[in-house]
């Protein structure tokens, strides 16, 4: 094999779990330059595998842990990895990202990605030690929480191994189960269920292979400058308050989804805000490996039950969305989701949907009421045991609505099956477009279109087709960040994102990369995700929002109103801006 390109190992490890063996597969330089790493490389590998047409929980399904050219470099926030598979929740592409030591150790195994296919004969731990593959029995870890599993594996394998684990939710193949590492989660879209379907409780990695960098002195100097800037005002919000500080802002702007998107503001918001929690409870900070921002804020639970990491999305989904202003219940729900291995947004969204179904008399579960903290906690437990209503809740809101019937799909809070994050699209209409066209469904991490709504560039209540290119731009930036990979909380530090990213990539790889090349790369990655979805059965009809959001204004802000026609015009403009057909099909030439 030719010498690896700086920043890469120029090969991935393809593991057939049925056979219990792995083989290295070379990655050509042109292929890597076209797809980079993370999400971009992951989607390309899955397309090569034919994963789009396989059932996501079948023997033929593939799941890839994908590293990136920047992992292991001195660049702040670069210790990240992507988990890419077909989603059991949406049956569309799913790329979830997580951070920290697993990314560093995974890349040191000597591969740019680890792709799993087949199914282990029994519950197993997949061990990859410097590229050597082994399957060890996992029976003693079954039923353990993500946190307990990670601790137990550290005891068994030693601290040099880094592990990515599933919790009981992944073992039961709950459609929105996570893969967890070091308290962070590849959260959305159910990658934990895919790993569970392969009989893998955890992946443990260790290695000693470090790729070269093309220009180490210049890279170290650039990294130093970025670290310096990352201590500045562009990241102060994350460092000092955490993302949870969005809560009161969104509440004031009437875009805080409340009671299953029936309202855009929540009377109990102050009681669960970080401003209030920070006064009443212990608060500590933490950060991922190789990160200078330190966005994680942990709040203490009562009665010595430890502390829990609180993000805006957890807080909104398990608080206002379910009508709950009991801080202890919300924090305990966050902890329980982390331990069970459940995506908080989908768990909260599905439970909130069920609460509204109960309110409307469509479900006979009178205990499951908006505002009831103990009921929320009970529902989370039932999702994982599968008892009672838990079987339905484990399906996610879309499939649950299909079972319930009675037009409940009209108020199921999802796009393509993925529950909508904490931005009411009626009052943030560029984001409405971002949600509608998102390749993995309603998604605030793959489209940052809310940034446009929070600016003078548009009237957020009346966004027109001429603004579609702004949504495209945020999606392209996200695709590149997710493939390099760098944390999105760093984005305010860049002055000219594509130009500076090109400089970084050039110093790592030695390629003469330009901003324009990276713009093309980002568009290629977005198109590859679309191609995957088309192969998986995508149709234009799914690029929309729940009917309620197209029929009803927010009662607390009547300017926040969309219509099916207006959203369709935005989607059409977006498709044309991407160079696709007005309906969203990719021209054959691409």
């Amino acid at each position: 094999m030719a010498s690896p390109i700086p920043g890469f190992h120029s090969r991935y490890l393809r593991i057939d779990l049925t056979a219990g063996s792995g083989e290295p597969v070379p990655l050509a330089e042109a292929f890597l330059r076209q797809h980079l790493g993370g999400s971009g490389l992951g989607v390309a590998l899955l397309l090569k595998e034919g994963a789009a047409t396989a059932d996501p929980l079948s023997l033929a399904a593939s799941l890839a842990f994908v590293f990136s050219p920047l992992v292991g470099s001195p660049l702040t926030t670069s210790a990240k990895f992507a988990v890419v598979s077909k989603s059991p929740l949406t049956h569309r592409i799913n790329d979830s990202l997580a951070s920290s030591g697993f990314a560093l150790a995974g890349k040191k195994t000597g591969y740019d990605a680890i792709l799993l296919t087949g199914r282990a004969a029994r519950p197993s731990i997949l061990v990859i030690d410097d590229g050597k593959v082994d399957l060890e029995p996992a029976d003693e870890f079954l039923g353990l929480s993500t946190r307990e599993t990670e601790q137990a594996l550290r005891g068994r394998f030693g601290a040099e191994f880094q592990t990515a684990t599933i919790g009981p939710a992944g073992e039961r193949q709950v459609s929105y189960a996570t893969i967890s590492h070091d308290g962070r989660h590849a959260g959305r879209g159910g990658s934990g269920a895919v790993l569970g379907s392969k009989n893998i409780k955890a992946v443990a990695v260790r290695g000693s292979h470090r790729p070269q960098w093309a220009d180490p002195p210049a890279l170290v100097e650039l990294a130093r400058q970025f670290s310096q800037k990352s201590f500045g005002p562009a990241t102060a919000k994350y460092r000092e308050l955490g993302t949870a500080s969005n809560l009161l802002t969104f509440n004031r702007l009437n875009v805080l989804p409340t009671r299953n998107f029936q309202q855009g503001s929540f009377a109990g918001a102050a009681a669960i805000s970080p401003e209030e929690l920070g006064v009443a409870r212990d608060r500590t900070r933490s950060s991922c490996a190789a990160c200078t921002i330190g966005c994680e804020h942990l709040y203490g639970l009562r009665n010595g039950k430890g502390s829990v990491r609180l993000e805006y999305e957890n807080l909104f989904a398990l608080g206002p969305l379910c009508g709950i202003d009991d801080a202890e219940a919300v924090l305990e729900a966050c902890r329980r989701c982390d331990d069970l291995g459940l995506d908080t947004i989908s768990a909260g969204g599905t439970i909130a949907f069920a609460m509204e179904c109960v309110e409307r008399g469509l479900l006979d579960e009178p205990w499951l009421k908006f505002g009831d903290g103990p009921a929320l906690l009970q529902a989370l437990d039932l999702i994982v045991t599968g008892d009672g209503i838990g079987r339905l809740l484990a399906l996610g809101s879309r499939r649950m609505a299909h079972e319930i019937g009675h037009d409940s799909i009209d108020f199921a809070p999802q796009v393509k099956g993925l529950e909508i994050p904490g931005y009411d699209p009626r009052g943030l209409q560029t984001m409405a477009l971002g949600f509608a066209v998102g390749s993995r469904g309603a998604d605030h991490n793959r489209s940052g279109a809310y940034e446009v709504d929070f600016s003078e560039a548009v009237d957020r209540y009346n966004v027109g087709p001429e603004s579609a290119h702004l949504a495209v731009e945020t999606e392209d930036k996200a695709a590149l960040m997710d493939s390099l990979i760098l944390c999105k909380f760093l984005r305010g530090v860049f002055t000219d994102f594509f130009k500076e990213s090109a400089e970084i990539l050039s110093l790592v790889t030695g390629w003469e990369v330009t901003a324009e090349e990276l713009r093309q790369t980002a568009r290629r990655i977005v198109t590859a995700k679309k191609r995957f979805n088309i192969l998986a059965g995508w149709t234009p009809a799914e690029d929309t929002l729940p009917e309620r959001m197209l029929q009803q204004a927010l009662p607390d802000d009547t300017r926040a109103q969309l219509s099916a026609d207006r959203l369709a015009a935005l989607v059409r403009a977006y498709n044309l801006a991407r160079g696709w057909s007005p309906e969203g099909w990719i021209p054959e030439a691409e």
Binding site: A236, K237, L241, T243, N246, E311, H444, G448, S455
Partner: protein, 87 residues
């Protein structure tokens, strides 16, 4: 002319208050008034009569504004908040 100012996120943390009043005929006047009264807020969020990078203002919860000449009316509510809404 007096307006109500509501502060969010880092702006609130720096000013130490959630709400205050300020005087001025335009956004620049109001920012200068706030900067004079809340030095820590000015250090992070306000440079003279303009917002520092990373911050924005909003009128009445409806329209985002940053231009210092943005005209204000008696009783208007100005929100001061971080630009970055990611989470």
């Amino acid at each position: 002319m007096q307006v109500v100012v509501e502060l969010f996120g880092i702006a609130r943390a720096r000013a130490g208050v959630a709400q205050t009043t300020a005087h001025g005929h335009c956004l620049g006047d109001v920012l200068a008034d706030l900067a004079a009264r809340f030095p820590r807020l000015a250090e992070s969020c306000i440079a003279g009569r303009t917002l520092r990078p990373g911050f924005t203002a909003n009128l009445g919860g409806q329209r985002f504004v940053t231009a210092q000449e943005t005209a204000l009316s008696e009783g208007d509510t100005v929100l001061l908040l971080p630009l970055d809404a990611g989470g």
